[in-house]
C-alpha cells in the first residue's frame, strides 16, 4: 500500500469513526435536556429514566468521541505535518475556539452526570443546556476549519508561503455558512432518527410500552425538524459549490462537459474513460436550475480542469446520490410524522409510520458519511483547494500502512463494544410495569407482563 494512500485511509477511518460520536455528542444532550425538562414539568419518573439513560449514552459516546478527537488532533501532525505547518496559523483559531467549547462541554457533562443529587434541579438542567450548547458550538468550529480547506481565504500566497495572514477572514470564508448549517442539521437529523428508529422498532414489537413511546416522541422532536430543513440547506450548499468549487459539483453530477442548460442526472454510471455517463436518466435543465436557479445557466464541467486534477468521479458521484436519496427519505418521513402530529394522530400506533421510522435508524448516519465523502473526496487532489495538494502535505515517514491497520483494528474493536454497551444501557426496556400505561389510551388492555430485566 503506498504511503499516501495509507495516510489518507487512516485519516478517513479516523474521521468516519469520530464523526459518528461527535454528532451524537451534539444531539443527544439536547434529547437528555428535553427529557429532564419534561420530568420536572410532569413529575413522571419515565422521563427521569429517559434523561438518565440518554445521559449515560452521552457519557459513553462522549468518552469515545473525546479520545477519537484527540487522535485526530495528533494525526493532523502525524500524517499531514506540511499541511499543518502551512494552515496552522491561518485556521488554528477555530480549533482553539473548539478546544474551549469542548472543555466547557467536558466540565458541564461531568457536573450533569455526577451532580444529580449534589446541585439544585434548576442548576442541573442548566448544566445539561450548557453541554448541549457547547457540543453544538464545538462541532461548528471544527466545520469552520474544514470549510476553509474548501474555500481558502485570509492569506496571500507568495512563493508557496502564506503571508498577510488574517485568521478572522479565514474563518469568514465563503463555505462557512452552508457547511456549518448543513452539518449541524445533519447531526440532529441523524441522531434523532437513529434513536427514534430504535424505539419505533421496539414499539412494533411491544406497542403498549410507554417508555419507548415517550422516547420516540422526544427523538422525533429533535430529528424531524432538522430532517425537513436539511434539503433547503442542501440547496444552499449546492449553489455554493457551483460557484466556488465547480469541480466538486461536476464530479458529484458526473458532468464531463461545460454546458448551458445542464441536465440533472438521476441515475447512471459515470464512465471516466469515455467521459460520459452511461445508462443515464436525466431531467433536462435540472442541474442549471438547481445550481443557479436559472434553466439556461452555464454549469462548469470536468473539462475545465486537466484530468490529473479530477477527484475520483464515480466515488463522489455515488456518494452524492446516496446522500441525496437518503436525505430525501428522511425528510419525507419527517413530514409524514409532522403531519400526523399536527392532526393530533397517535404516532405510536401508526404501524406503517413506525416501520418507516425503524427503517430510518441507520439512514441519517449513512447520509452523513456519504456527505463527508462528497466534500472530502470531491476536493481531491487538493487538501487546501487550489493551494496545496494532498500528496505534498503527507509526512515523509515510510511504512504508514502499519499505523493505518493498527488504528483500523482498534476502532473496529471499540465500535463493537460501544454498540453492545448502548444496547445494555439505553435501548433495553426498563422493567417497571406501572409505566406501561403512562398517558396511553386504553392502558391496561395490552398488559403483557414484564419485559426483559
Amino acid at each position: 500500500m503506498p504511503d499516501l494512500l495509507a495516510a489518507r485511509s487512516q485519516m478517513a477511518v479516523s474521521l468516519a469513526f469520530h464523526i459518528v460520536f461527535a454528532v451524537i455528542g451534539i444531539a443527544m444532550p439536547l434529547m437528555m435536556v428535553l427529557a429532564e425538562r419534561r420530568w420536572q414539568m410532569t413529575g413522571h419518573a419515565i422521563y427521569l429514566d429517559l434523561a438518565q439513560r440518554w445521559a449515560k449514552g452521552t457519557a459513553i459516546l462522549f468518552a469515545v468521541g473525546a479520545v477519537s478527537g484527540t487522535v485526530l488532533s495528533f494525526e493532523l501532525g502525524l500524517l499531514w505535518p506540511r499541511f499543518m505547518e502551512f494552515a496552522g496559523p491561518i485556521i488554528g483559531m477555530p480549533f482553539s475556539l473548539e478546544g474551549f467549547a469542548f472543555f466547557t462541554e467536558a466540565i458541564f457533562l461531568g457536573i450533569y452526570l455526577y451532580g444529580w443529587d449534589r446541585i439544585s434541579s434548576r442548576a442541573h438542567l442548566w448544566a445539561g443546556v450548557a453541554v448541549a450548547v457547547s457540543g453544538t458550538a464545538s462541532g461548528v468550529f471544527v466545520v469552520i476549519a474544514n470549510a476553509w480547506m474548501n474555500a481558502p481565504t485570509g492569506f496571500d500566497l507568495v512563493n508557496g508561503q502564506a503571508v498577510n495572514v488574517d485568521p478572522i477572514a479565514a474563518m469568514a470564508n465563503a463555505a462557512v455558512v452552508s457547511q456549518t448549517l448543513h452539518m449541524t442539521l445533519a447531526a440532529y437529523a441523524a441522531t434523532g432518527f437513529a434513536v427514534a428508529g430504535i424505539h419505533a422498532f421496539l414499539l412494533l414489537k411491544d406497542p403498549a410500552n410507554a417508555f419507548h413511546r415517550r422516547a420516540l416522541e422526544i427523538a422525533l422532536l429533535v430529528g424531524a425538524p432538522a430532517a425537513v430543513l436539511q434539503p433547503l440547506s442542501g440547496d444552499l450548499s449546492a449553489r455554493h459549490i457551483a460557484v466556488h468549487q465547480p469541480v466538486k459539483l461536476a464530479a458529484a453530477e458526473a458532468l464531463f462537459r461545460t454546458q448551458p442548460g445542464a441536465p440533472l442526472t438521476l441515475i447512471g454510471w459515470p464512465d471516466v474513460a469515455l467521459r460520459e455517463t452511461r445508462f443515464a436518466i436525466e431531467i433536462p435543465y435540472g442541474l442549471s436550475l438547481l445550481a443557479f436557479h436559472d434553466p439556461h445557466a452555464v454549469v462548469q464541467g470536468l473539462d475545465a480542469v486537466p484530468p490529473p486534477e479530477w477527484p475520483n468521479v464515480p466515488a463522489v458521484y455515488v456518494s452524492f446520490r446516496v446522500m441525496v436519496a437518503v436525505g430525501t427519505y428522511l425528510a419525507l418521513v419527517a413530514l409524514w410524522a409532522s403531519w400526523l402530529a399536527w392532526r393530533r394522530a397517535d404516532l405510536a400506533h401508526n404501524r406503517w409510520l413506525l416501520r418507516a421510522i425503524a427503517l430510518a435508524t441507520p439512514m441519517g448516519f449513512v447520509a452523513l458519511e456519504a456527505g463527508w465523502m462528497v466534500t472530502e473526496l470531491g476536493r481531491q487532489p487538493w487538501v487546501i483547494y487550489g493551494v496545496l495538494k494532498t500528496r505534498d502535505a503527507v509526512t515523509p515517514m515510510p511504512g504508514l500502512v502499519v499505523p493505518f491497520v493498527t488504528f483500523t483494528l482498534l476502532y473496529c474493536f471499540l465500535g463493537v463494544i460501544v454498540v453492545w454497551l448502548l444496547y445494555r444501557h439505553i435501548i433495553r426496556s426498563p422493567a417497571v410495569p406501572e409505566w406501561r400505561g403512562f398517558y396511553m389510551p386504553g392502558s391496561g388492555k395490552r398488559e403483557t407482563g414484564n419485559e426483559t430485566s
Binding site: V64, V67, V71, G88, P89, F100, P398, F407
Partner: protein, 344 residues
Amino acid sequence: MGLADLLAGVIFVALNAYAVLGGADFGGGVWDLLALGPRRERQRELIAEAIGPVWEANHVWLILAIVLLFTCFPPAFARLGTLLHIPLSLVLIGVVLRGSAFTFWRYGADEEQRHWGVVFAIASLITPFLLGTTAGTIASGALGEAGGATLKDSLTVEGDGFYRIYVAPWLNPFPLSVGLFALITFAFLAAVYLTLEAHERELQEDFRRRALAAGVGLFLAAVMALLFSLNGAPRVRDGLIFAAWALPLHLLTAAAAVTALAALWVRRWRVARVAAVTQVSLILWGWALSQYPYILPPDLSIAGAAAPPATLRLVLGALALGAVVLLPSLYYLLRVFKSSVRAT
C-alpha cells in the same frame, strides 16, 4: 518577553495543568493496577470515584496544548509529528484504550469489569511513560535540524536511515528515564490526592504509604534522569546545573519535596497536596527554563517557530475570552466534586 514567549508560556501552563490534573488520573490507573491487600476493592472504588467526574475535563488540557501548539508554533508541531510519529502514535493508542476502558469499566457488566480495569490500568502505565519519553526527547535536543534536514533522505534510505531518524532520537537512556520519572510523578500525585479523597482512616493510610514510597521513588528517578542528562541532554544539564536561576529553583523544589513528604508523614493531607503540586510544577518549569528560548532545541527557537503576530494576538484574545467562560466553570466543577466539606 514577546508575544510568542507569552503564548509558549500559556502552552506550558496547559501542560502543567495536564500534568497535575490529568497526570494524577493516570496515576490513579497505576494504583488501580497495584491495588493490594484486604481493601483492594475499596481502593479501586475510591480511585474510580475520584477520577469519574473530572477526568474528561482534565484530559482536555492536553488537547488545548496541542491545538495551541499547531496554531502558534506550526513548524514545531510539524517536526514533532514527523520525527516522533512512533511514540506519539503509541501514546494515542494508550489514550484511546484508557479513555474507553474507563468508560466501559464504569458502564460494563460486573463480570467483565475487571478486564476493562486491567486494560485501563495497563494503558495508564504506558501512556504517561511515553509522554514523559516524548518530553525527554524534546529536552535532549535530538529533534534538531539534523533530523529535519534528513527527512528527505528517509524516503530513499532504507533500514538504517529509518532507525536513525524515527527511532534513535527517543530510544535512548535519557528520554526513557524521563518517561519513568513521569510515570512515578503521576503515581505520586495520585496517591497524595487520594489521601484527601478517602473518607476512611484505613484507606487514607493505604495511600499515605503509597505516596511516601512513590515520593522516594521520584527522588531516585530524578537522580537517574539527571545522571543520564550528563551525556544525553547537554542543554538541560547546563541549564539545571550552571544557570543563575538553577540554585534557587533547586532549593525551592527541594523544599517543596521535603514539605510534601513531611506533611504525609504527619498526616497533614492538605499541606501535602499543595506541596506536591508545587514540587511537580517547579520541576516542569525548570525544564522549560533550561531550554528557553528554544521550543525544540537545539535550533528551533520560540520566535523562529512563531506564527504571524496577527494569529498570536487573536489567539491571546480567544484565550482571554475562553478563560472568562472556562475558569468559573472549572471552579464550579471542582467545588461541586472536590470540596472537602461535602454534603454526604
